[in-house]
Assembly symmetry: C2
Homo-oligomer: 338 residues x 2
């Protein structure tokens, strides 16, 4: 028998700067029951991703802010326990854009996406087949327009988005240089993921490192970081280069005004393009992309690394790990684990 | 009989900050004679444009720096006096990418472009049919991809580039708002050029002015300025907006590090694109573009305003006018005038 108690993480105050455990409270509340057209889902894996920082701000961005006292928003994957929607049955697996950081979630049936657990392990649906992996995929293919022979540089390349972007670059026939923090992550990029080279931004000045590793410049810079790494890459753009703005994690916790793209003037002299995107812009293509990525996962052409923390209770301490370099691989919570 | 003396402006020192008359010397030297394959041109009109500032720096950019003591580089239009090249005859009119700021210029015949003085008045070849006008044309059409119904904002809209960009926006069926400094230029934008509205950046805070005049946001921002105007426009981008980086005149004379695109993060949330270009990227299309623009000039659909200074001697004082708002319309020198 399933518990009638739901465990959830709620936002109790808005961070100024880095999000800390104290900004959340984990509480137990009665489990909601699904109404007509709704489905009760037991959440298995909860995505923990840098974009969450933006959702905590009071100012609306591309999504409305999370209200104080509300369940923290999160993508997740789980199993249907009770269905009052014609399309879903008990035992089905589903992906939800907003299951929330909680053990059980009640959702409108039409807001769920069917998951095939035969295609890939369930946790991949919040990783390589979830918004992180899809961001790497569409960012590199559609926004970056990476082509064989291109020189590609990826920042935060050991992360959930960057690792898919970088490996996709290799599949496409590019020379790929990844940027990450620390020797362990850099070794992973080259030895495990098969990138051509890695730059440890904690150990090397990024401008000089790029100059040495990409002496003829960069065709695609896939950026998750912003700040100094973006500056260094911009100064090495080749003609007709594409700068993919996937994220800017170095700026999310700023309390002072953000550092911008200081050398955007390079776009002019190199006839280059800087383009941002949100992965949901490509939602119509998600089913196909998931099939392609799942196939590559099976073939070992795309490798992933997960960092799975047990239980909803682990969320408040998990989020800060994304911003101080402690996370390595796709950070997620296994809500069914104790 | 033509003079055997050439008058030219040479660079004598490199400006730090604003270029001043003292950075140039106007001198008289014996006129060079054309060798085999060369042509002697009497220069009629000399283009004075903001990009010249970049050419004065010691650091190479997209063109090599001008050497100290060398003739100042400039686009120009003139008449062939002596030809030792099969394609040219005395009396032909020609456009040269580097006639220089001088009365007479000797050039390789293959480096000149034929000019049809019947198509448009000669001075238009350094204005609307020269690199300024072509920058407005290709920037709006090819980089900005302006479409009917788009909301277009153009900075430095009364200038040589911006005025063509803005009027082209109107021809394409866009709503066009121009930004310029002072009531006279703003009246010109609306009353003469037919733009929908104008913002006097000296009198109004640009963020609020854009918000008021473009309440639903901007589809194409055609930027010649950078800095605060770019910031204000970026904050109003609509989804899939295009930011055309044509110039950044507010930053050319910086002695401190340039202000970048501070709000480039808007590219991400709006899936927008920022793209730079140099007009020479479209050189293969210049002949067609000149015909189109000349036709619109004849029909009065594109209007121009010229500020023509007499004689090569006027160059050292002319260049600073581009940076302090004193120029209004296309700044050029009539080298044949005294």
């Amino acid at each position: 028998m399933t518990s009638s108690v739901n465990t959830r993480a709620v936002l109790v105050s808005r961070p100024v700067g880095l999000p800390l455990p104290e900004h959340f409270r984990v509480e137990q509340v009665p489990r909601a029951e699904p109404g007509d057209g709704e489905v009760l889902v037991e959440v298995h894996y909860i995505d923990v991703q840098p974009a969450m920082r933006g959702w905590l701000a009071e100012r609306p961005a591309y999504t409305p802010p999370i209200e104080l006292g509300a369940t923290m928003r999160a993508q997740g994957v789980g199993r249907v326990l009770v269905s009052r929607h014609a399309a879903w049955r008990e035992g089905d697996y589903a992906l939800g854009g907003n299951f929330g950081v909680q053990r059980f979630s009640v959702q409108r049936g039409e807001e769920l996406t069917r998951v095939d657990p035969e295609l890939a392990p369930l946790q991949q649906y919040v990783g390589a087949l979830g918004s992180s992996g899809l961001t790497g995929y569409f960012g590199m293919l559609e926004v970056g327009q990476a082509k064989p022979g291109d020189v590609v540089v990826v920042s935060s390349a050991a992360g959930a988005v960057g690792s898919v972007a970088g490996q996709l670059g290799k599949i496409l026939g590019c020379r790929v240089v990844g940027i990450a923090g620390g020797p362990e992550k850099c070794a992973y990029l080259v030895d495990e993921l098969g990138l051509d080279a890695a730059i440890d931004y904690k150990a090397r000045e990024p401008y000089r490192a790029i100059q040495e590793l990409c002496p003829e410049g960069i065709d695609v810079y896939f950026d998750n970081v912003g700040g100094d790494l973006l500056d260094a890459a911009m100064l090495h753009l080749r003609p007709r280069a594409r700068v993919v703005i996937s994220g800017m994690i170095s700026q999310y916790n700023n309390t002072a005004p953000s550092v911008g793209a200081r050398f955007y003037g390079m776009l002019l002299v190199r006839h280059a393009r800087m383009e941002g995107f949100l992965v949901r812009d490509y939602a119509a293509q998600f089913p196909t992309a998931r099939k392609v990525l799942a196939q590559w996962l099976k073939e070992g052409r795309i490798k992933t690394r997960e960092q799975i923390l047990p239980g909803v209770e682990s969320f408040p301490a998990a989020l800060p790990m994304l911003f101080d370099g402690r996370s390595f691989g796709k950070l997620m919570i296994c809500a069914t684990a104790q």
